[in-house]
């Protein structure tokens, strides 16, 4: 796979994050290369959210270092991380339903045109680009003025992904993008991930669904109780093994037998 010819875009080394007496992350190492989809798996409470918030500049790590394109980086805010090229699509905070697709798409980075001493938002450009980028992702909008609230969950994720891609993300972090979606919308989001990966962007795909991970993942890292249990290449690990790792390798074994391996 071509992605292994490249050096990692982001490399996280032995990250620890403490909240008072609580150790949320206890030595996590992770890296993401261009054009790959690196799945981060873990059960609820494993520390996935804390980890991606550390990666996207919301939290500062208590210990450990973050290398961005080989250089050590300290992100002071999400904006710093974003400007460096790390874009995050949060599961619930991606979009503002009452605002139009265009306004959401450009939120925080609105294009402006100057008229005399005043600068106005360039809606012609904003609308055209939005329509075009959404079309690239396979969604035909009725109108760029359409409120995001009228879109389906999958379409909203896609708007957020298209936005990140358009604004030059090198790394795209997707926080459980499929967890609240139906089968067909999940398939749409997964195919969007595939499209994004092919443009050379590194995708960090957070999920607790092994099947979704196996569908698009190139590498898999499992997080359990604030620690990584190692990273596996595609084809080196079976879904059952991943499932066991996520559950800490014990409790689910008995249960899985009775469910016939469908979990």
């Amino acid at each position: 796979m071509s992605s292994f010819d490249h050096n990692p875009i982001v490399e996280m080394r032995n990250i620890e994050k403490h909240f008072g007496p609580v150790i949320a992350l206890n030595g996590v190492s992770f890296d993401i290369r261009p054009g790959e989809c690196h799945c981060l798996l873990g059960d609820n409470g494993a520390g996935k959210s804390t980890f991606i918030k550390t990666m996207s500049g919301v939290h500062k790590p208590t210990k450990g270092e973050i290398l961005f394109e080989g250089k050590r980086m300290d992100f002071a805010s999400p904006r710093d991380a974003m400007e460096a090229g790390i874009a995050t699509v949060y599961q619930d905070l991606a979009m503002i339903p009452l605002m139009s697709v265009t306004r959401n798409f450009w939120m925080g980075r609105e294009p402006v045109k100057r008229v005399g001493p005043f600068s106005f938002m360039d809606f012609t450009k904003a609308n055209d680009v939005t329509m075009e980028e959404m079309r690239k992702m396979g969604i035909n909008l009725r109108s760029p003025d359409q409120a995001v609230g009228t879109l389906s969950g999958g379409e909203r994720q896609t708007v957020a992904i298209a936005r990140a891609v358009y604004f030059g993300a090198k790394v795209l972090i997707l926080d459980e993008p499929t967890s609240a979606l139906g089968v067909r919308q999940t398939a749409n989001v997964l195919s969007t991930i595939d499209k994004v990966r092919k443009t050379g962007i590194g995708v960090v795909f957070i999920t607790h669904n092994v099947r979704h991970a196996m569908a698009v993942g190139d590498r898999f890292t499992v997080l359990n109780r604030g620690k990584t249990l190692g990273t596996a290449q595609r084809g080196q690990i079976t879904p059952e093994e991943l499932q066991d790792l996520m559950a800490g390798g014990q409790e689910l074994v008995a249960l899985e037998g009775s469910l016939g391996g469908t979990v």
Binding site: M107, E110, F123, D145, A147
Partner: protein
């Protein structure tokens, strides 16, 4: 898809235009404005409500509401309330009076200082809300009392009374005072009067002059603020941030919108509008009283809600809020013209407010697709 694409697209566009018309936030206010005018043309058409003097009367009252509604609207879209607007009006007026009359400073200096003080208080409101994360309802409620208290305390302490007059004399010849208290277009009304189109004074030292001799600056301010706020909100990058800050502050923060700064600026703008209101009032009437502006914060919020803004933030329109203010002013003054018992005004207000909120909820359901 691609083979039938053209036909399908056209049909979709058709519905989208209809939907677009339906989901404008101003829709309810536009319908309401027509209904209200129709109502008063029928029931008060011959009462003087629509002669020059009557029109000036309800437009002036409406313009007052517009000025504070524009500020409240921007702030509400940014997701916050300001309940201290009414007290701010009293406070600002008193501040101008104390600086100019009691301390004898030039009126322009008094006005500029008052603007600086009030905008700073607005910023303080905003900083407290943003820093503590407390609901703005509570923070500004505190300022409602704090400012009203000072407005009564200072003049009593200094002058032993709660109304300070004599500002008109101090303002004579001042360069800044006419910007708030003056009138424009006098020659036009002189011409109208000379053509016999509007009434003139029948006696007194103004005999022969038109009864309406100009458009008060209050109305000019209202229109100006409305246009500027509308353009900023809908046509600029900052406007997008205002929507974003109110729609979902966290989501906006994640994409780098400076939510705290936007909200604080909107609190300052609301304070600015309240101060414009107060300055116009003080310059027109020549006195400042401790009871000025009572309950104006609610009237502003009601106008904004009638205008289609959502109390939860992130959605609304300045034009809608201005129409809401117009409805408010026309109904308030129109009921007098129609000879309705004035205590029923509150009943009307409640009914209109209820209709507006129900209509807004309905529109929001269309937008967000929840049925």
């Amino acid at each position: 898809m691609s083979s039938t694409g053209a036909a399908v697209d056209e049909r979709i566009k058709e519905t989208s235009r209809l939907r677009k018309a339906l989901i404008r936030p101003e829709l309810g206010a536009i319908v309401g404005t027509f209904a209200v005018f129709l109502f008063f043309i029928i029931f008060a058409g011959d009462s003087g409500m629509f002669n020059a003097q009557g029109v000036l009367n309800w437009s002036t009252v409406s313009a007052q509401f517009v000025i504070i509604a524009v500020g409240a609207c921007m702030l509400m879209i940014a997701g916050e309330f300001d309940l201290s607007v009414g007290s701010m009006i009293g406070f600002a007026g008193m501040s101008i009076a104390i600086f100019s009359v009691t301390l004898g400073w030039p009126v322009w200096l008094a006005i500029l200082l008052t603007f600086a003080i009030c905008i700073a208080i607005g910023a303080l409101n905003g900083v407290i809300v943003v820093r503590t994360g407390l609901p703005s309802f509570i923070v500004t409620l505190a300022f409602l009392f704090i400012l009203r208290g000072f407005t009564i305390f200072f003049p009593q302490l200094i002058e032993r009374r709660t109304i300070i007059g004599g500002i008109a004399e101090r303002a004579a010849g001042d360069w800044l005072a006419p910007v708030f208290g003056g009138k424009v277009g006098g020659f036009f009304f002189d011409w109208l009067a000379s053509q016999g189109l509007i009434a003139v004074f029948e006696r007194g030292n103004r005999m022969g002059e038109p009864i309406v001799n100009g458009i008060p600056m209050l109305i000019v301010w209202a229109l100006g603020l409305m246009v500027v706020a509308h353009i900023v909100l809908t046509r600029t990058r900052f406007g997008n941030w205002v929507f974003a800050a109110g729609g979902d502050a966290q989501a906006a923060r994640y994409v780098g919108v400076p939510v705290a700064r936007v909200k604080i600026l909107m609190f300052m703008f609301t304070a600015f509008c309240a101060t414009v209101f107060a300055t116009c009032q003080v310059m027109e009437f020549g006195s400042a009283g401790a009871d000025r502006g009572l309950l104006k914060e609610f009237e502003a919020i009601i106008a904004v809600v009638i205008g289609g803004a959502l109390l939860t933030g992130g959605y609304g329109s300045v034009i809608g809020a201005a129409l809401g203010a117009l409805i408010f002013g026309v109904v308030q003054q129109g009921l007098f013209f129609a000879g309705v018992e004035s205590s029923l005004f509150r009943v009307f207000l409640g009914v209109i407010l209820l209709f507006a909120v129900i209509l807004n909820t309905y529109i929001r359901r269309i937008i967000t697709g929840e049925r």
